[in-house]
C-alpha cells in the first residue's frame, strides 16, 4: 500500500518531464513544470507517512502516539508556496512574451524574432 504512493509520484514526474520535452506551447511547458513540482511534493509527503499514523498533534488523547513525520509536511508547505510563486511568475513572463511576439509557439516566436533582428 505505502509503496503505491511512490510509484504514483514517479509516474506524475514522468508525465511532467514528458510534457516539457514534447510540448511546444510555452504555457504547456510551464504547466508541466508545475506537474513536476507536484510530483516531488507528493513524494516528499509520502516519505513522512507512517502506516496508520496519526496527525502529529500533542493532546491529552494522544500524548504518545504513532505520529507521522511532521517535518516533510512542513517542508512541502514551503515548497508548494515556492512552486506557486514560480508558476505565477512564469505566467507573467508568458503574458509578456505573448504581448511582444503575439504567440506562445516557439516556432512562431522564432519567425517573429528573425524578422525583428
Amino acid at each position: 500500500m505505502s509503496n503505491i504512493i511512490y510509484y504514483v509520484s514517479f509516474i506524475i514526474l514522468g508525465i511532467g518531464i514528458y510534457g516539457i520535452v514534447s510540448q511546444k506551447n510555452l504555457f504547456k511547458q510551464l504547466i508541466s513544470l508545475s506537474i513536476i513540482d507536484t510530483a516531488v511534493n507528493i513524494f516528499i509527503v509520502a516519505l513522512g507517512y507512517v502506516e496508520w499514523g496519526e496527525a502529529p498533534i500533542y493532546s491529552t488523547i494522544t500524548p504518545v502516539a504513532n505520529f507521522v513525520d511532521p517535518l516533510p509536511q512542513a517542508l512541502v508547505l514551503t515548497a508548494i508556496v515556492i512552486g506557486v510563486g514560480i508558476l505565477a511568475l512564469g505566467s507573467v513572463l508568458l503574458v509578456h512574451i505573448n504581448e511582444k511576439y503575439g504567440s506562445l509557439d516557439p516556432d512562431e516566436i522564432r519567425d517573429t524574432r528573425e524578422v525583428v533582428e
Binding site: 516539457i20 516528499i44 516519505l47 516533510p72 515556492i82 512564469g90 513572463l93 516566436i109
Partner: protein
C-alpha cells in the same frame, strides 16, 4: 547578530515597497551596513541557532572562515552594483531581497533553508533576467532553473530521510555508498544549471546579452559567487564530489565550446556571455580536483573573472553602438578588464592563470592547463578584436554624425549625450575595479592569502563540524 545580514536587507526591502524608487536609495546603504558589520562586528567562527533550537533540529546560521571572505566579496559586489547599475522602478526592492537571500545562502547551515534561499534567488533571478523586455530568455531560464530547483529539493529531502536532520554538518555522517552519490548528483545538477556549465548552461547567453546593466552583474557576478560558495561547501566540505573526473570533463568541454560560441558571435553581449560561461566552467573544473592549491587558485580565478566581467558587462550595457573615443576612462577600464580576463601580466588575471597552472602541474594534471591555454588563445583573439574595434570606431562614426548634424540643426543635445554616455557612478565603479585588477596584478598576495586560507578551511571538515557541535547537542 549575524542574522542581521539577512534581516536588515529584508526589512528595508519591505520598507521600500510603498514607494517605487525607495529601494534604489536603500540598496547602497544596506550593502555598506553589511560590509561595516562584517568588518567590525562579526568575525569568523560563530554560530547562531535560530529560535534557540539546537543545531540538529533547528536552523543554524554559521559564519566560519569560508563564508566570511565570500560574504565580504559578495556584499562588496552588491555595493558596487548599486552604484553602477541603472535601477528602474522596483529593481531596488528586488535587489534588496536578493541581498538577503544571497547572504542567507552563504550563512545557513541547513539544507532546506538553503533550498528556500536558492529558490528566492532563482525567482529574483528570473525577474531580473526579464529586464529590458527579455521575457523569452527569462522563461527558458525559469524552466531550466525550475527543474534544477526541484532536484535540489529532492537532494535535501534525501538527506533528511537518511540522516534524520537537515543540518549540513550532520549530513556528512551519511556513509551509505549507494545513497551519498545519488544525493550529490541531485545537488550537482542544480549547480551545473546555476553555474552555467555548458550543456546545462545553455540558458545563459540569451539571458546575459539583454543589454541591461543589472542582469549580467546580478546573475553573473553576485549569484555566481554565492553559488560557487555553496558548491564548495557541499562538494568540498561536506560530501565528496561524485564522479569528479566526469564533472571535470564536462567543465572542460564547456570551456572549449563556450569559447567557440563566443568566437562566432557578432554582438559583444553574447560574446561576453559565452566568455562568462567559460570562466565559471574553468572554476568548476578546477574545484572538481579537490586539492587545496588548485582550489585556492580557482577562487583567485573566480575573483578575477567576476570583477573583470563586472566591468565588461557594465560598460557594454552603457556602450550601445558607441566607441571609446569620446570616453577614454571607460575605454581604459574595458581594456584593462579584457586583458585581465585573457590573463596578461600586470593584471590579476595573470596570477589567476599562474597559480592555477602551477597547482595543476603539481598534481600532474596536464589536460586542463592545455584546455585553459587553448581557450585563452581564442579569448585573446575575440576580446582584442572587440577592443580594437571599439577604440577605433569613432573615426568612421564621426563622419556619420556630422552628416546627421547637418541634416537636423538641433543635434546639440545628441552630441552631449554621446560625450558622457556612461553615468558618473558606473564610471567611478568600473575605474575603481579596473584599478583593483592592476593593484592585485602587482600584489597578488592580497587575494592569494585569502583564497589560500579559504581553500585550507574548505577542504578541512573538522572545524565546521566542531563549530556546529559546540553549539548543538
Amino acid at each position: 547578530m549575524i542574522a542581521l545580514l539577512i534581516a536588515v536587507p529584508l526589512v528595508f526591502a519591505f520598507a521600500s515597497i510603498p514607494h517605487e524608487r525607495l529601494g534604489r536609495y536603500f540598496l547602497p546603504f544596506v550593502a555598506m551596513f553589511n560590509l561595516v558589520c562584517l568588518f567590525f562586528f562579526m568575525h569568523p567562527e560563530q554560530i547562531l541557532e535560530v529560535g534557540k533550537w539546537p543545531a540538529a533540529y533547528g536552523i543554524a546560521l554559521v559564519l566560519d572562515n569560508v563564508s566570511y571572505p565570500f560574504l565580504i566579496f559578495v556584499n562588496f559586489l552588491i555595493l558596487m552594483m548599486s552604484l553602477s547599475a541603472t535601477l528602474e522602478n522596483r529593481y531596488g526592492t528586488l535587489l534588496l531581497v536578493l541581498t538577503a537571500a544571497v547572504n542567507g545562502i552563504m550563512l545557513t547551515g541547513d539544507f532546506f533553508n538553503s533550498f528556500v534561499f536558492l529558490e528566492i534567488i532563482s525567482v529574483i533571478a528570473y525577474i531580473v533576467a526579464a529586464h529590458k523586455d527579455n521575457a523569452l530568455g527569462a522563461f527558458k531560464y525559469l524552466i531550466f532553473g525550475g527543474i534544477g530547483g526541484t532536484m535540489y529539493l529532492l537532494g535535501a529531502v534525501s538527506v533528511y530521510v537518511k540522516s534524520g536532520t537537515l543540518n549540513m554538518a550532520y549530513a556528512s555522517f551519511i556513509t551509505d555508498p549507494m545513497v551519498v552519490p545519488t544525493i550529490c548528483i541531485f545537488f550537482l545538477i542544480t549547480f551545473l544549471v546555476e553555474l552555467k556549465v555548458l550543456p546545462l548552461g545553455l540558458w545563459a547567453p540569451d539571458v546575459y546579452s539583454n543589454g541591461s546593466s543589472v542582469t549580467p552583474i546580478a546573475l553573473g557576478s553576485i549569484v555566481t559567487v554565492s553559488l560557487v560558495y555553496l558548491f564548495s561547501r557541499i562538494f568540498l566540505n561536506i560530501f565528496d564530489l561524485p564522479n569528479p573526473q566526469l564533472v571535470g570533463i564536462l567543465a572542460m568541454v564547456s570551456i572549449i565550446f563556450s569559447e567557440l560560441g563566443a568566437l562566432k558571435q557578432k554582438g559583444l553581449g553574447r560574446a561576453l556571455s559565452f566568455a562568462t560561461i567559460s570562466g565559471v566552467s574553468t572554476v568548476v573544473a578546477a574545484l572538481s580536483m579537490r586539492e587545496s592549491e588548485i582550489t585556492s587558485a580557482a577562487y583567485f580565478y573566480l575573483f578575477n573573472d567576476v570583477v573583470s566581467k563586472f566591468i565588461l558587462f557594465t560598460l557594454f550595457a552603457y556602450l550601445g553602438e558607441r566607441g571609446f573615443k569620446s570616453n577614454k576612462t571607460a575605454g581604459i577600464a574595458f581594456t584593462f578588464a579584457s586583458l585581465s580576463v585573457v590573463g596578461f601580466p600586470m593584471f590579476a588575471g595573470f596570477w589567476a592563470k599562474y597559480y592555477l597552472l602551477k597547482a595543476l602541474f603539481q598534481v600532474n594534471s596536464y589536460a586542463l592547463p592545455a584546455i585553459i591555454l587553448i581557450a585563452a588563445v581564442i579569448e585573446a583573439g575575440y576580446l582584442i578584436k572587440w577592443n580594437v574595434e571599439l577604440w577605433y570606431k569613432e573615426e568612421d562614426r564621426e563622419k556619420d554624425r556630422e552628416d546627421v548634424e547637418a541634416e537636423k540643426a538641433e543635434g546639440v543635445e545628441e552630441v552631449e549625450e554621446v560625450e558622457d554616455f556612461v553615468p558618473f557612478g558606473a564610471q567611478v565603479v568600473t575605474l575603481l575595479l579596473a584599478l583593483t585588477l592592476v593593484v592585485v596584478g602587482f600584489m597578488p598576495g592580497l587575494i592569494h592569502d585569502q583564497t589560500m586560507s579559504i581553500a585550507n578551511h574548505v577542504l578541512d571538515f573538522r572545524p565546521y563540524l566542531d563549530l556546529i557541535l559546540k553549539g548543538g547537542m
